[in-house]
Amino acid sequence: MGYVAVKGGTEAIEASISRLKYERLKGGEQVDVSAILSSMRLLIDQVMSEASLYSPELAALAIKQAEGSMEEAVFLLRAHRSTLPRLYYSETVEPERMAVERRISASFKDIPGGQLLGATHDYTHRLIDFSLLGETEEERKRWLGKYEAELSGLEDASGDGSYPKVVEYLRSEGLFETFKPDDTEPDDVTKNVFQFPASRSERLQILTRGQTGAVTALGYASLRGYGQVHPTVGEVRVGNLPITVQAYGGDDGDDSYYIGSIRATEVESFVPMPSGGPDGKQELRFEIGYGICYGQNETKAIAMSILDQCLEHPESDAPSHDEEFVLLHVDTVESTGFISHLKMPHYVTFQSKLDSVRNTRKGRDGHES
């Protein structure tokens, strides 16, 4: 049997796309992009993070178009991103400049500056709130008015929103290794196909744009025994990072252009590692796993910090220390794209396999007879 080129299906595809729109519209109620922007903060954060494109407005639009499908929304943003020119590279963003809205430590009760809970679901009852079914605009306005009135009575804070890093406190005590700033230009996986072994900058870039579920699953696998990293979270912080660029004749920090800020979650995990002491005896020391991602997505950032530390130690045979295993399987578009392509026509390849099975059986049956 030879290959047969086929065509057709155009009308069916057009009808299918109309059907898709019908499914989106038939309920009669539609959510505006502005409503998604104002009420789906964490979903927007996740889409931006996995798309590696920070734009809450575009993410909200993609969520609406994708009917809430994460993988479709991320795909749409990635595709849109590929149509835009890269105009600038930012100046180096130094994490200590974050205007912090939330920071907690699982390692110390008393941290310099204190633990700031900010906005979190961590301490809420995970019970469905049926009162939201009937929530009215009037109730929302009343609650907001009351909350803002309470805040208006507060004395202004004296700080600027920056807090000292827990890790720097430990470094100053000599408990953690210190590193000088390394200004080596990073590699960029969006410009060049990376090769193994990947550089640290490539690993961090791939992890931070990784699918939340995949990064979380592999981080969890490491904790369960498919890796040798079980950290204590030194610090989780959520806040806004200012972004500046140099353009047209600028050459110093004061001359740069402030373009806005991005919200991010940043994590340092403390990982105990056995090492040889000066007297030849085994002793414990700590290393740091680093995680960061767009928006507020603490589970992903913590999982990334675990995987960062795993990949710093490829000498382990555990799967989560295998950079090929981790880095090639966490990207949303790559993994969902490859899995979903399986439903696309494979008529020829499957016929070939069927022919192979038939021939094998024919030969076997002939041999047996």
Partner: protein, 140 residues
């Protein structure tokens, strides 16, 4: 006022301020548009705190515009899809580079807006500090 400080006030503050400054310049000087407001990307270079190395965090959508006033080119860049603000920032940038007389009166307004922004930020910080944990040690 240095560009870093001025652009932060204009972007974080009331956008009417940028509109007012740019309109003033457009009324009195010919402004030639070199690059109409367009969307593009800025790649964010980030330092990580574990080993102090650099990596790329991802891209941010920006709007960029370029104008020319006399022999001076001005650039406006702002995160997000904000065409009017990018165009206004470009005009303001060119005016500052050219040292136009109108810019002399801007500092006072910028500083006033900066004070307003600082007050707003302090109030937001005060609200966040309500979520700061006060630990009580349990005694035996």
């Amino acid at each position: 006022m240095k560009r870093r400080r001025m652009t932060e006030i204009l972007i974080e503050g009331n956008p009417e301020l940028a509109d007012r400054f740019a309109s003033e310049i457009r009324r009195h000087h010919p402004v030639r548009e070199l690059v109409a407001p367009r969307q593009g990307l800025t790649m964010i270079k980030m330092r990580e705190t574990a080993r102090q190395s650099l990596f790329y965090l991802g891209e941010v959508l920006v709007t960029e515009a370029k104008v020319e006033i006399g022999d001076y080119i001005g650039v406006g860049i702002v995160a997000g899809a904000k065409e009017q603000l990018a165009a206004d920032l470009a005009v303001i940038d060119a005016a500052c580079r050219a040292g136009l007389s109108e810019t002399a009166g801007w500092n006072a307004m910028l500083e006033a807006e900066e004070v307003r922004l600082a007050g707003k930020k302090r109030r937001e910080l005060a609200a966040l500090e309500k979520t700061k944990v006060q630990f009580d040690t349990m005694e035996e």
